[in-house]
Symmetry: C2
Subunit: 375 residues, 2 copies
């Protein structure tokens, strides 16, 4: 159940509330990525109470391979397995099949692939990824789609989109004919494809809207195209989507991307960037982005940003976090990961406040400059 | 300031209170090892509030090399650098020189060694390790000693002990002639050597007692000798130590070692075992020791020990912790490390309770059996 509460005057930014049986999600929102049922280097209590994550993402491809559906169902689903009582969104595994595994065959029935772990063969179909996500018990599940690479030719993208549409119909049917396993409701989101071609995006948006999913994702972006092109496609794609459904831009992005794409009408985001970059020492701050491994922080005995509600900022000196990274200490990874996620969630909260009080349009260009600054 | 509150009737177990400017330490106590200013995989808040560590250990050798004395002093000492406001004990670096570095020359003046990091040359003397520990600002500092390997010949151990004694005199003098740097008091502990030879232990104990250190350590054990021999030496060595000084058995040990050595009159312990073994999946429980990597936990959807106050026990299923280890997820290292340390600190707390209520002697043999059981 999605409720749209406010739309910015001068931009397409929207503020809303998405209700699930595991609690409400305030949008625009960023979803930390917990690939294997753990947001890397962050424990569930901290994720909830310090990072203040409202929803996290799990990867069907990875969780299907390990621990596997049998153990997952015995455990009572992903919430129970990982000890997380707030909402979870799971992807369908499509993206990982194309990026991680050796695809053996992509056919009408589905995608046959070899596991990147042990080479074993598996078939994902539009129906069985619904079944797997029933076993996972995610609050929001995604349909199986084919995500074409960038750049790709018009004819290839059009044909691929056709397959995604036929899979979407089958996935929606499977969703409607099956029931949740653990007593809480699940939603299903469609995925709009069509590459960077406006007519295909229009066709795909209309098709996906016709299947009455609980939400719609913009897929096929953040696959290597320039930022400006991503913004351009997002801009015309959001105009093609029903106003009353939540809109999820998959795999995006930098803090600057989030600000810009909120302005273009996106409600939900996920990306590995805050945690992956954290593990490389890159920290996002309200003054710009730093690399804590840089020697200039070696003798800098102040917190990163004492007023900012993150452990790495308030509690520890930059010289200490630098020291942890220089010595490959695990605590460095934890502090940096928690910090970046806290920053992302703080950014989304601030965005919501600015939309609410009507100042988003004036505020976000300045914030874009800040987050894209390197210090 | 050490206060001895109770001594067990049937064993030599003692209960006491060691006061420092960063708070009191209830003994017998276990000190988690924070080699580089971080107890691996555990953040300072959890170390204090969940693990309930009362004192931690830092390694002078490592901290001298990184971040180095200059940065450490600018940071205001180790407490300030790492954000830890409870007591810290630092070793003198002697043990690491002998175990990690290429020693270039061991001479009367001190030990010249090459850094294991970059091969750079350094000299540790009885005086400058006091100075370095002034810079670290530890509540308890240790003297520089030579720790002979096991087995070692009588003549070598006797000669080495002589050097340690001369160094002890010089170290104590340096301690008495210098002042703390950060406004809190520091203590200095001597280290008894003498290998496994009773007459040398006696000579060393009397010598160290004569220098009026604030506490005395038993060094030269836990270097590869059989447990029974360690117990035997500890047993006669504690009889040779002044009753009113705290006694620290360096580098020990397993939960069984702690129980046995408390019974032999030891007040303080440190060991990397709980954290190092945690990172290999070995978890200590009140029912015995398990390896969470073992396939038998794969589909075991209950907490490890639901009544035990540790995250890994109460909050997460064993199947989930197993899954984290199988997938090399950082959260597994955090949960296991916190669990084992919580277990060690719980064990020490229970030991203190049993000494207090006079049941320690009857209780500990049964507990020895439990902690040495593999399940």
């Amino acid at each position: 159940m999605f409720q749209l509460n406010k739309v910015s005057d001068k931009t397409k930014a929207r503020k809303g509330l998405l209700e699930t049986d595991h609690g409400s999600i305030e949008t625009p929102i960023f979803m930390p990525v917990g690939t294997l049922g753990t947001v890397k280097a962050v424990n569930q209590d901290d994720l909830k109470n310090k990072v203040k994550a409202q929803i996290i993402l799990g990867n069907t491809y990875h969780l299907y391979l390990r621990p596997g559906n049998h153990i997952m169902q015995d455990a009572g689903g992903l919430h129970s397995f990982m000890g997380w009582d707030k909402p979870i969104l799971t992807d369908s595994g499509g993206y990982q099949i194309f990026s991680l595994s050796d695809i053996r065959e992509l056919r009408e029935e589905g995608a046959e692939f070899q596991s990147h772990l042990d080479g074993s063969k598996h078939l994902f179909t539009p129906e069985n990824v619904v079944d797997t996500q029933r076993v996972l018990g995610s609050d929001i599940m995604m349909i199986l789609d084919e995500c074409p690479p960038y750049p790709a030719e018009y004819d290839y993208v059009k044909e691929s989109m056709g397959l995604t549409h036929r899979w979407a119909e089958r996935g929606r049917k499977q969703f409607e004919e099956t029931e949740p396993l653990y007593g809480h409701q699940q939603m299903q989101f469609g995925i709009v494809q069509g590459g960077t071609f406006e007519d295909l995006r229009k066709e795909s948006s209309e098709f996906m809207a016709s299947l009455d999913f609980e939400g719609l994702a913009i897929g096929g972006l953040s696959v290597g195209e320039p930022s400006d092109l991503m913004y351009e496609v997002t801009d015309y794609n959001t105009d093609l989507l029903p106003r009353e459904k939540p809109r999820y831009l998959m795999g995006v992005g930098t803090p600057g991307n989030l600000l810009q794409c909120v302005a273009l009408g996106i409600d939900m985001f996920d990306c590995v960037m805050p945690t992956r970059n954290a593990r490389n020492g890159m920290l996002f701050t309200r003054n710009g982005t730093i690399n804590i491994r840089n020697a200039k922080w070696k003798n800098h005995h102040k917190p990163l940003d004492p007023d900012f509600p993150s452990d790495a900022c308030q509690r520890y000196k930059m010289s200490y976090v630098h020291h942890l990274f220089r010595n490959e200490e695990l605590l460095g990874l934890e502090l940096a990961s928690k910090h970046n996620l806290t920053f992302y969630l703080w950014l989304m909260e601030t965005i919501r406040e600015k939309i609410e009080d009507g100042t988003f349009a004036d505020w976000y260009p300045g914030m874009m400059e800040v987050v894209e600054r390197r210090i």
